[in-house]
């Protein structure tokens, strides 16, 4: 059993561990197969990915397995989806008009209120799955508790998308707010039923709310739909379970960090430099925040030299991680575009301590 979870716990507690923990999301054949020491064979690809985490990283937030390029299917909502090896998207939406969505949302609210999630069976299933994963990860830290804000669930879970959300927010705000409150209640119940602090002691709020260079909404709109209250409520529920809360949003959330801190978050991920996030300025302004990610994957890890990768990694460890509170990794995920040599250069530098 390796001591990665201990390293992560030390770092999150504000102590400098033996080395800064490597925390990442791997979506890269070469990197995964290198760390796993085995190829993806289509038989037990999940084991290959878990093996890579065990051998290569100190922690992760998701275990990804490759899909079949071009595979299409119809999801529960009726959308036609298409897979690429490491991602998928909607090719055709089942719900197109505002009227379609209004009916669907009304039914979804009724569904949520009639059948609280998770059921006892789902709770047992989730806890059993967590336990199996903990055993297979053998000491690698993992974030099991991943609640979503209501806006994130609406945009990316229930797939309303930003365009239709914007139209309905303007035309039927009462419905959208009712939907949000229902989702929030559901998410809160999920935390209460399934979260526990037995492993890394971390929760991650998934909430992509920013583009490159700016958030998706103005602060006035965030406040109008109760976004920061939602974050505060999730933080409170997680804290009561003994979990520290890392807020995840791609894009540039710089202008709302103060509000997120006030809502009670303990850290931020993935710190997308190419979108405009300046990790050094962020650390200076909020030295208590746990920073998770931060190494520019858009340009540096993808296009830089191993020397450049090593240099920036060292700078981050020295300037951001001298008192812990740094789980270093890519600024979103290690995509297929990252050369193995660069990720190994990153790892080498981290392991120097």
């Amino acid at each position: 059993m390796k001591n990665s979870t201990l390293l992560v716990q030390q770092a999150c507690a504000g102590k400098r561990p033996e080395h800064t923990p490597m925390f990442d999301l791997l979506l890269n054949d070469a990197v995964i197969e290198h760390f796993a020491g085995r190829p993806f064979d289509g038989i037990d690809d999940e084991e290959t990915s878990i093996c890579a985490l065990r051998n290569g990283l100190d922690g992760s937030r998701h275990i990804a397995v490759p899909d079949i390029d071009g595979r299409t299917w119809t999801d529960d909502q009726g959308n036609t989806r298409v897979a690429a090896r490491w991602t998928n998207w909607i090719q055709q939406h089942a719900l197109v008009t505002a009227e379609d969505w209004t009916h669907w949302i009304t039914a979804d609210i009724e569904r949520i209120e009639a059948q609280p999630w998770p059921t006892d069976a789902e709770k047992a299933q989730t806890l059993a799955k967590q336990q199996r994963l903990i055993e297979r990860l053998a000491g690698t830290a993992y974030i099991h508790c991943t609640p979503s804000t209501a806006i994130n669930d609406m945009l990316f879970g229930k797939m309303i998308g930003l365009q239709m959300f914007s139209y309905l927010w303007a035309d039927d705000r009462e419905l959208i707010l009712r939907w949000m409150r229902a989702i929030e209640g559901s998410q809160r119940r999920y935390i209460e039923q399934t979260a526990h602090a037995e492993t890394a002691g971390l929760a991650m709020i998934y909430s992509d709310v920013a583009f490159k260079q700016h958030p998706m909404f103005s602060k006035r709109t965030f406040n109008a739909f109760g976004f920061f209250d939602d974050v505060a409520s999730i933080c409170d529920a997680c804290h009561r379970k003994g979990l520290q809360v890392i807020f995840h949003s791609d894009g540039d959330i710089t202008t709302i960090v103060d509000d997120l801190v006030a809502a009670g978050i303990d850290g931020l991920n993935p710190l997308e430099k190419a979108a405009g996030v300046d990790v050094y300025a962020l650390h200076k302004a909020h030295p208590q925040l746990i920073l998770v990610g931060g190494v520019d994957v858009t340009h540096l890890l993808r296009e830089g030299t191993p020397e450049e990768v090593g240099k920036e990694t060292r700078r981050m460890i020295n300037e951001l991680g001298s008192e812990g509170r740094l789980l270093i990794g890519s600024s979103t995920e290690v995509s297929e575009l990252v050369p193995l040599r660069n990720y190994l250069a990153f790892q080498d530098e981290v392991m120097r301590g």
Binding site: T80, V82, W89, Q91, Q92, H93, V96, T97, A98, G161, L162, Q163, Y167, A170, D171, F211, K212, Q213, H214
Partner: protein, 310 residues
């Protein structure tokens, strides 16, 4: 030199007497019937429009191309089916061409038209998932616009104008590289005959466009409007376009709506400092928002008149 001639001198960087003002009645604008209305209706592209936001702005709420699978099969409507009404003919006939410029409009040119047809999310996704089909689709729309503009040229317009919002408040909606690959070449095709005829291309894009203002000047766009003050680096736009593309707008509407007359005066003087040197500036609000206090509008025009002399 009347206001029209001063306006032309300004946009051609040929020694105007003063910075033209946005409230001078230079243009007589018209658009063929069938492409756009301020109403709840379906246009001849199949886009269903609904008027919202205090009955001022129609939004494209029904998209005729909801699936990316259908992208390659989409056919544009016939631009010759747009109607030049007798009322338009009469208005043009009665226009004093020595006093005013006639501008043929096409609301929703290319970027805007494409997302109105597809829906914004499919539109943005298709650049990545269906690049070849997107090139062909955009070219079809550009061809539609080119034919409309050719029809305007046959009517001897002085200018063509269109809406083509490319920017959000902080950035382009697509990357500059993607813009240059997919959109810019289609503009060249759209404007080719207009520019060859020596006519004005009046380009309207809200939002942040400073990253591509130079590109627009490079392909011959005559006037860029409304150069939103809070969305753009106006020093950069001026530097990248001076002597080649005129700039129309720039006065921060937020200050006009919420500031005092003194705030307005300070803002107009600041903008003149940035945009007046070298010519090519038409002073105007950077948006058209109802409800701006009269005293602020009066201060805008007064300050621009006082400080806009060359």
């Amino acid at each position: 030199m009347n206001a029209r001639d001063n306006f032309l001198a300004a946009i051609r960087f040929q020694s105007p007497r003063y910075v033209p003002l946005g409230n001078e009645p230079i243009y007589l604008s018209f658009q063929f019937e069938g492409n756009f209305r301020m109403a709840n209706w379906m246009d001849h592209w199949g886009v269903r429009w609904e008027v919202g936001l205090a009955d001022t702005v129609p939004f494209p709420k029904g998209n005729p191309l909801p699936s990316l699978d259908q992208l390659a099969d989409f056919c544009t409507p016939d631009p010759n089916a747009l109607v030049f009404t007798p009322e338009m003919r009469e208005a043009l006939k009665n226009t004093d061409r020595g006093e005013r410029l006639i501008k043929g409009e096409l609301i929703y040119l290319l970027f805007e038209r494409a997302w109105a047809i597809m829906g914004m999310e499919n539109f943005l996704m298709a650049f990545a998932t269906h690049p070849a089909e997107m090139h062909a689709f955009l070219h079809q729309i550009a061809h539609y616009a080119r034919v409309v503009f050719d029809r305007y040229l046959e009517l001897d317009v002085d200018a063509i104008g269109f809406s083509e919002d490319l920017g959000s408040q902080r950035a382009l909606m697509i990357s500059p590289a993607m813009f240059r690959e997919f959109i810019l070449p289609e503009y060249v095709y759209c404007f080719e005959n207009v520019l060859r005829a020596g006519k004005i291309v009046h380009f309207h894009s809200c939002g942040c466009v400073h990253a591509v203002a130079k590109d627009l000047a490079d392909i011959g766009v005559t006037i860029l409007n409304p150069i939103q003050a809070r969305a753009n680096n106006l020093d950069r736009i001026k530097r990248d376009t001076v002597g080649r593309m005129a700039l129309h707008g720039g006065i921060d509407t937020a200050i006009l709506a919420n500031g005092t007359p003194d705030d307005v005066r300070t803002e107009v003087m600041r903008m003149l400092d940035i945009l007046k040197p070298g010519g090519g500036y038409i002073c105007a609000p950077d948006q058209e928002i109802p409800g701006i206090p009269d005293k602020n509008l009066r201060m805008l025009w007064k300050t621009a008149r006082e400080c806009g002399r060359y």
